[in-house]
Symmetry: C2
Subunit: 590 residues, 2 copies
């Protein structure tokens, strides 16, 4: 048999040259025709060409260009009295990108931010890549030392700083100066509708003035290749020094659409920003909302009252939040709550949500969808797709089903649970634990300047999440623990997530975290750190332990309970490594 | 300034080699790690790698693999008493792909079909590319001569033929034999739940028996490169000999998701197949529904009664259809209609839908969304995104707004209206006509074996649609005519679409098409071909002309009206070239 479609790189180059030739022959007006070809194994054939008419590198900056046409007069951003349309946002981003190039930013340079969810953060997600640069959104809870260290590591040329965080940035610059390093340029983000609250020195720019100097007709520097970097996200550092995760234009485009689809975000949604924009680029939804022509409701500070008020005022349709945000909502005083105008869809993730919290959110009228992912997977990677046949189950069963992490989204190729050493697939029995592994286009390009860590994370051709999970018979996965968090007691694996779920079932428990405590006899035993709800100070450790023993196999119940506030990362994750250190210093129990 | 992210192809190759090395060093178990790199202008940097963990060529066959996990026990296909789950469909497609390779199909071979919307057509959309081959779905209305010609042109190795179309195929084989060419292998699709209606000769295979011989554990032949061809779609041939439009795996993946988003197809929809699956691969929705875990309701024959019955029986949520299908629904006898159980979303396109038909569909309880595209754009390319602020307008104004073709979808980069000669952008004034031009990843790879036609279609770096349109001040485009259909009378352009819209407003008109008639004085004048509704035989040409003069500038009203049935393509498009010939033979009017 002859193969009609065969590898014909040579033939393609030929036909491509002929194409150019014939264009030039026909009319000089068409001289701006531009094309490229792929010298890899493209299976071309006679008549096929690869040119600017049928190929554009995938990038989420295309979403803004489209939104400016399709949704021009609709509201893009609301922040207090500040309000923009998509047409205005587009123009502002063009000006800002132009201003960045005027400051000397070249293709591939890093531009950093230190800011909460204000409009400038929204705009920088488009303007920085439109200037050909890479956006690095730093965690607003870093101290000056950490900030200085990450500015050095990322080689950021400019940092945009919110006025309330200026002292942290100045502190970081002082650390820089001690080492003789040149600090980045600083652009101050002041409140647009108020006076600038600080003096602008000669080495500092102001956001609105800078933007006003940019050109509206700026020619966007699109990526030459869709695998070019678009952003740099440092991990939250629950277990180690933050690592710089590099996202590509291609991955960001694909994860934006996959997240829009997994959250059921239709055309023209109203999205409330309770997830930090600096965290995985807001789970890629800053870009995803431009794709759907949505309205971004920005909040400087996330409080239950602020959430309920915004929902009522702006008819919010969708929002997101780590389980800690959901916990804050369900435990807020009734005086802070107001009835929802309609069902508000909440996407939760970042840590396994206790079923009790999901139940309570749904009682309040929220629809909770549960996703799972890591910074290395652009945020969301799996979701617990809800089957209509589960609707008729009792609330607690529904919540247990929904607390599972589910199946991979459309941007990924595969998520599997495998033995971390042999790579053997675990049986779908809901019992056998293995490591969650990812494979697909929405996995990071690597850790910046840390090839060793990249190699380790990708060893075996899969991204190793470091999370332990089981696979249920219906193929849904359920996280049982971080590989580093699991408690091994008398040879038995104890999922700290399972113990925490029982603890959350106790009426007095507001927050709970379980870690391993060294034990001479058992090796390790579970140790619970618990924050009680107000008015429950009388509850004793013994009562908590008894409650756990009533609801769990004996060996899984905590042997120690300590009442205190839990240390958290800025994204609401409990810093178990701190608690583990604390449990160690208590010595062996036996 | 140093550029942190710079072109570093050499550096990447180095780090890539180091990666392999370190994997091999660490553990021989990880030897199946596989990777590739892009020797084009990827802007890599230290720590970034490009390997099987973070790159998979985009292909819609991934959707089936995911559906088999995420939606395993949910219904994939219903056809009469035949019913499959996604788990079963996945297994059947693996077996079918395996069987194709057993028949000698190699990567890049073409596999053709000649069949209506039956389950085999659904399965072949996955199984053929899973065998590494290219799917060519032929129009079921072709005669034997055309079929023979396209089988020769496509070099199809196998053709799958529905039992009701067997004689057409045999006729084509006889034409083949006369020319001495070897015909393709024939696989007969019989009705699965009945006896095989024809004798199977030794040169012919039967679908179910073939599939049963395939292996479930077949190793899918994924594309090496996402620009590899996945399907070959011949244009409907309204104006010329059908051209073979080549789709890529990448384009098919992106258009599937873009179409799902533009039609608002949520998770687990129920889709009624009234659009032919052979037409643009069912507007890419065969793949799109696998992405969303939908149920495909297959119909051999599309009738109003069949549509209403299927909606009621299967709780259909979405369907599609050319304006002719909508026309058939709104003009069906009341006895064939039944009340809708809920709003059914209908996506219409393929020709400009008359506003009156949209209004009547909405009165019946359908929600109509309007899209526009061509075979060359994988089907849908733009959609008339509906703005909530239009809800309060009167029905006829709403229908006029909705009859516009709208804005480009998320898979494309840009759709613009430009002067076909100078490529200058027309003003967004709703009046100035220009040619609709497309640019982006969901534009075809080219016309098979017709580089000249590909070059013409892509001249200037845009895909030239051959359609004339205006751009409204809100950036929505509106098709006015085919470039070849427009009537030029006394130097004035007359949009035949506008005249047809007025004709549809006359209560007696069922179908209408306007073409140019040569005229010694005016050059051309509009000539209307009209099919009247039953019971309206008394209506005269003069009455129709007067009606048009009352609703249009005088020069735009037809000067001739001819009552007759309109010639159509199988996708419901009127074959205006036939009418134009007819109008020519009538000679000049003056």
């Amino acid at each position: 048999m002859n193969h009609l479609f065969r590898n014909s790189w040579t033939r393609f180059v030929c036909s491509f040259n002929r194409f150019h030739f014939s264009i030039t022959q026909n009319s000089s007006k068409f001289s701006h025709f531009s094309g490229r070809f792929e010298p890899e194994s493209w299976r071309s054939m006679e008549g096929m060409v690869h040119c600017s008419a049928n190929h554009v590198p995938l990038s989420p900056i295309s979403f803004l260009d489209r939104a400016a046409k399709a949704f021009r007069d609709r509201t893009s951003v609301v922040y207090g009295s500040v309000k923009y349309t998509w047409g205005e946002t587009h123009e502002r981003c063009l000006r800002l990108a132009s201003a960045l190039t005027q400051l000397g930013i070249s293709t591939g340079d890093v531009v950093a931010t230190l800011a909460p969810n204000v409009p400038a953060m929204h705009e920088l997600h488009f303007a920085v890549p439109m200037a050909g640069a890479v956006l690095c959104t730093l965690n607003t809870r870093y101290d000056s030392a950490m900030l200085s260290s990450l500015l050095t590591h990322s080689e950021a040329k400019i940092i945009f700083v919110d006025y309330q965080l200026l002292e942290i940035a100045r502190g970081a610059f002082q650390v820089h100066e001690k080492t003789g390093a040149e600090p980045p340029l600083l652009v101050l983000i002041s409140e647009s509708d108020g006076p600038c609250p600080v003096d602008i020195t000669s080495n500092t720019y102001e956001y609105e003035s800078l933007l006003a100097n940019g050109q509206n007709g700026f020619q966007v520097r699109r990526p030459n290749c869709e695998w070019d970097p678009i952003s740099l996200n440092y991990t939250s550092g629950t277990t180690s020094r933050p690592k710089g995760v590099v996202y590509s234009h291609r991955g960001a485009y694909l994860n934006s659409l996959a997240t829009v689809l997994l959250h059921g975000i239709g055309s023209m949604p109203v999205y409330l920003w309770t997830v930090p924009m600096f965290h995985c680029n807001g789970w890629c939804l800053i870009w995803g909302l431009a794709a759907q022509g949505g309205t971004n409701i920005c909040l400087r500070k996330v409080t239950p009252k602020g959430i309920f008020d915004s929902i009522a005022k702006h008819s919010v349709t969708h929002m997101g939040g780590a389980p800690t945000v959901l916990n804050m909502i369900v435990n807020s005083p009734v005086s802070d709550q107001s009835p929802l105008p309609h069902k508000v869809e909440v996407m939760t993730g970042g840590a396994p949500p206790p079923p009790q919290i999901i139940s309570k959110m749904e009682e309040l009228g929220f629809g909770v969808s549960h996703l799972y992912g890591l910074t290395e997977t652009y945020g969301p990677g799996t979701s617990c797709i809800w089957k209509p046949e589960w609707d008729s189950l009792p609330l607690d069963e529904r919540s247990k089903l929904k607390a599972r992490q589910g199946v991979h989204h459309l941007g990924l190729e595969e998520v599997d649970i495998r033995d971390p050493v042999t790579l053997a697939r675990v049986p779908a029995d809901g019992k056998t634990m293995g490591e969650i592994m990812f494979r697909g286009n929405t996995v990071m390009s690597g850790y910046l300047k840390d090839l060793k860590a990249t190699e380790e994370a990708f060893s075996g051709g899969w991204f190793r999440s470091g999370d332990l999970a089981v696979k249920h018979p219906d193929n849904y996965i359920e996280v049982k623990d971080r590989l580093k968090d699991i408690v091994i007691s008398g040879g038995e694996n104890i999922s700290t997530v399972e113990v925490e779920t029982v603890l959350f079932g106790h009426p007095a428990v507001l927050e709970a975290a379980v870690v391993a405590r060294p034990d001479d006899h058992w090796g390790q035993t579970p140790c619970a750190f618990v924050k009680l709800k107000e008015g429950y100070d009388h509850v004793s450790a013994q009562e908590i332990i008894k409650f756990c023993r009533d609801h769990l196999p004996h060996y899984m119940a905590p042997r120690t309970v300590i009442f205190e506030d839990l240390p958290k990362t800025s994204t609401g994750k409990t810093q178990k490594f701190i608690l583990r250190e604390k449990a160690k210093t208590m010595g062996s129990l036996s």
